[in-house]
Amino acid sequence: MIKAQIKSLVCVKSVPDLDQVPAGDWKYGEHLPEPEIGYVNKIINSYDQNALELLLRLRDDYKDNGLEMKVHVLTIGDAKSVKILKDCCASGADSCVLVEHGVDYKYQYQAVAAILNAYSGLYGQYDIIMCGESAGPYDNGQTAFALSYTMNIPCISDVQSLELAEDGINVVCKRDEEICRLLLKKPFIGTAESIRGLSLRLPTLKERLMSSKKNIEILTLKDLGLKEEVISKKGGKLLEKFFALETVKDCHYVEVENLPHTIEQLIEMAQGQRKGCSK
């Protein structure tokens, strides 16, 4: 039995479900500086969900073996973000916080890291902070690293699993073509991406009903001692424009009746059994 106490935080984000956007809706232009996809549903970023699941599993795997662990969830957004926080509570999070802020920082990861750092500093030193590798349409993937720099604690990317150890936490992570096993002392930050074999828990109806009654703590930038005009200047780049990926191939359409011979040739070519192919 390993006696330990862990206070953990998961940073999550409500993002548009881009799978719902048909190809023709990816429009932009002079009068439309950003694609208009406000009609799609918002969901919790899937990588953030994986990060939450990793912490919940750590808590559940060792709670009968001496581990006292709390899992807190935080998001930055508007009132609509409360839904994903309630979903996290239904999944098993102990408490949730909304930093209510109407500005979406998009590609300004430095501003997001400043908010997370301020929260962590004011509301208790967390032993483990987890988040998805990237979130939001701009696919930054930099917030966790910036937070790690600001807090001066290690950051481990692509975490696959967490295990309690005598001297800290065993972290299994993926680094390029290697699965690595590291021993981390608290505190540290971890990011999650796609995790092989990880299936997410589905809250029961009872759990959802109970979470709907849970209070969500709501904070503002002022509560964190931050000023919008200061943190919004932290970025060093400006978005100039969008453009679409260009078509590169001229597709040759084949009638169903002519199929077998054509496909057979291509398959043989692919397997290296014969060279050349005529369509």
Partner: protein, 310 residues
């Protein structure tokens, strides 16, 4: 303009090609490229291809892989001797983390998974895929230096050459072990069968149930192809996570890719667009998959597969 490339001794050729292509910024006058080679005793200097005008060799005393904090130390030392407005790092570990930390150190900027960089009207512009690769965004860099890593699914196809370049500086680092993070063990991941297959069949959202999937699996077995799936199939539990193709899964470049019931949404397209030849089967002639396919079959895949397997 001075450009610094930070690459490992054993950096993969496709990564070196990307770095070299990106370093040759279009629109810039007089580019001078310096290559920082991160070496360790396990490697042995001299095996890498040189993609620059000059070399700075950074050696470390232990055999463990370079960590982000160590890369950061080495690059900061280099940048104290000369100004580099643009620094390119390999996308694999620990390039991304090192890039962000260096940007914080220098009050510069960082962009990960960029597609390319260029100079326009004297300003550094960096392009990156956003919105799950459905769009590209162009950023104007206001703060320099700018630290960039390049996305893995682009290959410049240039020919790398081994050539003698002057080593203008050499430094050996003896880093002390970190007390907060201890490397216990590492195990090489076996190359995923999808990434090594010559022929891959991709099942898309049009495959709605296990019976449909069984038909596609039978087809894949009949032509000795590996089977992959788009994200919706994985999320529906029809295929395991390791078979996911696309931006969230595997990037593949087989000789032949056969996309069955695949719409061609950008995240999946990013995973298969390097295929040498692609056949797409979809009932919708307007499906985006036909924009990246060599051969298009507008038909019900049940009929198509039945004919082919007859």
């Amino acid at each position: 303009m001075n450009v610094l490339i930070v690459a490992h001794e054993d950096e993969r050729p496709e990564s070196l090609r990307r770095l070299w292509a990106a370093a040759n910024l279009s629109g810039a006058d007089e580019i001078r490229v310096t290559q920082c080679i991160l070496s360790r005793p396990a490697n042995g200097f001299g095996r890498t291809a040189y993609i620059s005008d000059e070399i700075i060799l950074c050696k470390k005393g232990d055999c463990h892989p370079w960590e982000a904090a160590q890369v950061r130390s080495a690059v900061r030392d280099i940048m104290q001797t000369r100004s580099f407005p643009l620094v390119l790092l390999g996308n694999h570990y620990p390039g991304a983390q090192a890039a962000v930390c260096l940007a914080c150190d220098t009050d510069g900027e960082s962009i990960l998974n960029a597609s390319c960089a260029k100079v326009s009207n004297g300003e550094l512009m960096v392009t990156k895929a956003v919105y799950a690769s459905n769009m590209n965004a162009v950023y104007r860099i206001k703060k320099k230096p700018c630290f960039i890593t390049l996305r893995n699914d682009i290959d410049s196809q240039i020919k790398l050459q081994i050539a003698n370049k002057p080593v203008i500086a050499e430094k050996t680092y003896n880093f002390t072990d970190s007390e907060s993070m201890i490397y216990l063990s590492g195990k090489k991941i076996e190359q995923n069968m999808l990434q090594s297959a010559k022929c891959v069949v991709i099942a898309g959202r049009g495959i709605r149930n296990t019976q449909d999937l069984a038909l596609v699996e039978k087809f894949a077995r009949s032509i000795r192809a590996e089977l992959g799936g788009s994200r919706p199939l994985i999320m529906n539990g029809l295929l395991p996570t390791e078979r996911m193709i696309g931006q969230s899964g595997k990037i593949i470049a087989p000789n032949l890719c056969i996309a069955i019931g695949v719409s061609g949404a950008a995240p999946l397209a990013a995973g298969i667009q390097q295929s040498k030849k692609m056949i797409a089967v979809n009932q919708d002639r307007e499906a985006p998959i036909f924009k990246i396919a060599d051969l298009g079959i507008v038909a019900d895949y049940h009929e198509v597969l039945a004919r082919v397997m007859r």
